[in-house]
Symmetry: C2
Subunit: 413 residues, 2 copies
């Protein structure tokens, strides 16, 4: 008889991170694992022996469908970096004691770059100490900055939310465009990689003029050049729409948001928490050009708006979850499932698998060749890459008029 | 043979304002009007003789369906206040000359309080001068602050967007709740009336703990009482979610946003444009209590997110548009169509009609009895009133992965 499997979620959530959890659960049950445990709040909660038996919450096929449409980590998440093995062996001993006590054969971790670092360290430790557990990573991040995978689950839904909301913001602004000038600056997540900000380009089409300018963090931001672009646009049209990444930086590396006195909060991985570039630039334009401006931030809805998730993304997230269980069950360890693009047109994808040592901590940026020469837009190649990932929807299951989610009450000890 | 009809949109748009336009168009065609003209940018554009023949853009039943799902004023909108008749007769002479030139029999204006003022003045002028045109108002505002109608088209969809997004923001925040404290303040539109902010209460249910505190502009805001409520909540839970109206004011009438140095922009009707109360309070809590805070503004998406519009709202908006044409065609003038709630359970509604003199410029606030005694929540009566209005959805028509809209290019002269 097979033993048990445990799954955790880590890092910033996505609209489809629970579709991967549903994929893990379903494949694990189908392949005859005895119990599927879920870590509360990732490895941080596991260290405090916080876990649940997922069968207590996912009781039938309808629960699986609702879980696939539930945003933000169902199990709770954490930003917790394991120490290097030589720095703190006790923590590894403690984790493996817990895994042995729970009769865990496979450990599945759904996360981004930082989470793959956890898979790498745990599988290294198991190898070094002859432990039998297998450790598999499931990619997840709205940022799409993981190497070796064509794209990450969560990115397509965030891109769809951004493009949809950008269309709506443009319509709203244009409705007031008569004899009035308005500059709208939309700030989009993405600290170093411009994948999300570039998705604003998708708004352009037969029914929408799209945004006028797009600034990614991959290209140094020049405030003077920016202001003269805006001035030129205002000389021939009444509404100007600009998408910027939260991470745009001046040539000397200073964040534009810091020029505006933004927050300096630093997370557990040393990442600066940014805010306020759009507000800073909107105030600057208002001061310099005297026109009305508006700063829009999509905030955490970018990663949690499952009500407009992409069906391609939901299905791929489910698929990579299941593929990780299959790989672990067949003996793989220290690896991450990836998505390979099998065909562009018609779009087709399949899972692949890579050594996690090749993946962890390497950030995949938007190639310079997919950004226009003057750094104010993305190219058609970029759009062609993203478009297939936002296709289709999985209609919400409405209860009382609102999308129903699968719910696990908070464990706040 | 019948003459022509003209329709305009005015004031802040809603997710379903074009469903009313579709209702006007369809009923006008069905009742045998010759042409249906659309004013560009409301009465302001009409004064410059900016109008379109709607048949050039709405060519078939599919276009009507797409128009119903298109957010923000399809025709463009304005905030333009007509002078009193005795102040400036020329402007009235000009408008009626244009109407006569276009052989207009009925003039339909889709708007809120300020727009009903336009209907009142134009119908008064027609009555005084013996002009034959009829003037009918179609209610529209996300603010739900129009008197005499049970609710306004646009409110249900905004409430549904707010409640859905609040659920998603709560899930996102709770996912990180382990051993960390986070206070999230969500700022919601509504200058004087708390109808939209109160809709945050709908998030609470079997699958969501809901927000902890709700502050409407109807009740004076006490910063000290607020801080001690937050302190008390943080002593027993890790995440606190608070919904506030952009219009909350201290007892002396000062906007909380002004305490925070918010913008002082004043629109054509003398309304202050507010921003920044959530940011101000989030910074205050962070300073006083040392915990992480987050300010979320739903910005213009509250009135333009047609991708999650309520089906009840879409249908009612369509219904009031058609009812206005019917009333005008049957000889009514100087009136506004309203929605009467025929039954609570099952929810049923029908159109009624009122003298616009009784409606214009009267703001309907949330009754004090629908706000909890301590002013930090709404009552079950409030929830029971709103819940029927957010029911159902009209699935988006996706093209290229994004909701398709009916589009009229900007006319920026």
């Amino acid at each position: 008889m097979k033993g048990n499997i445990i799954v955790g979620q880590s890092g910033g959530p996505t609209a489809v991170i629970n579709s991967s959890l549903a994929g893990v659960f379903k494949t694990a049950m189908d392949r005859g694992f005895n119990k599927v445990y879920g870590m509360r709040y990732g490895i941080q909660g596991l260290l405090d022996e916080k876990y649940v038996d997922l069968s207590d919450y996912i009781k039938n096929e309808l629960d699986i469908e609702i879980l696939k449409r539930t945003p933000s980590a169902f199990l709770g998440t954490c930003r917790y970096k394991l120490p290097a093995i030589h720095e703190n062996q006790e923590i590894y001993i403690k984790i493996f004691d817990i895994l042995e006590k729970l009769n865990i054969e496979c450990f599945i971790y759904i996360g981004g770059n930082d989470s793959m670092d956890t898979i790498k360290k745990l599988s290294d430790y198991a190898l070094l100490t002859g432990k039998p557990q297998r450790f598999l990573g499931v990619p997840k991040t709205i940022d799409n900055d993981l190497a070796l995978t064509d794209h990450t689950p969560g990115y397509g839904s965030a891109a769809k939310y951004i493009a949809t909301s950008v269309k709506e913001v443009i319509r709203d602004g244009n409705g007031f465009s008569y004899k009035k000038q308005l500059v709208t600056i939309i700030e989009i997540m993405g600290r170093n990689a411009g994948w999300l900000t570039g998705a604003a380009a998708l708004a352009k089409g037969e029914d929408c003029e799209g945004v006028d300018l797009i600034y990614l963090p991959e290209v140094p931001f020049d405030i003077e050049a920016f202001l003269s672009k805006v001035r030129e646009l205002l000389s021939r049209k009444n509404t100007v729409f600009i998408a910027i990444s939260e991470g745009i930086r001046l040539a000397d590396g200073t964040y534009v948001s810091q020029a505006g006195g933004g927050s300096d909060y630093v997370d557990a991985f040393g990442h600066k928490q940014l805010t306020g570039s759009a507000t800073y630039l909107a105030n600057l334009i208002s001061r310099e050009m005297g026109c009305k401006t508006r700063a829009v931030e999509f905030s955490s809805l970018q990663r949690s708006a499952s009500h407009i998730a992409s069906r391609v993304d939901i299905n791929e997230a489910f698929m990579v979850g299941g593929a990780a269980v299959k790989a672990a069950d067949e003996g793989d360890s220290g690896r991450m499932v990836v998505i390979d693009r099998v065909s562009d047109d018609p779009y087709q994808s399949a899972t692949g698998i890579y050594d996690v040592h090749k993946i962890a901590n390497g950030e995949k940026l938007v190639p310079r060749s997919w950004i226009s020469e003057d750094g104010t837009n993305v190219t058609q190649d970029f759009v062609d890459y993203v478009r297939p990932l936002i296709q289709g929807d999985d209609p919400c299951i409405l209860v009382g008029g609102l999308p129903r989610h699968l719910h696990l009450p908070a464990d706040e000890d």
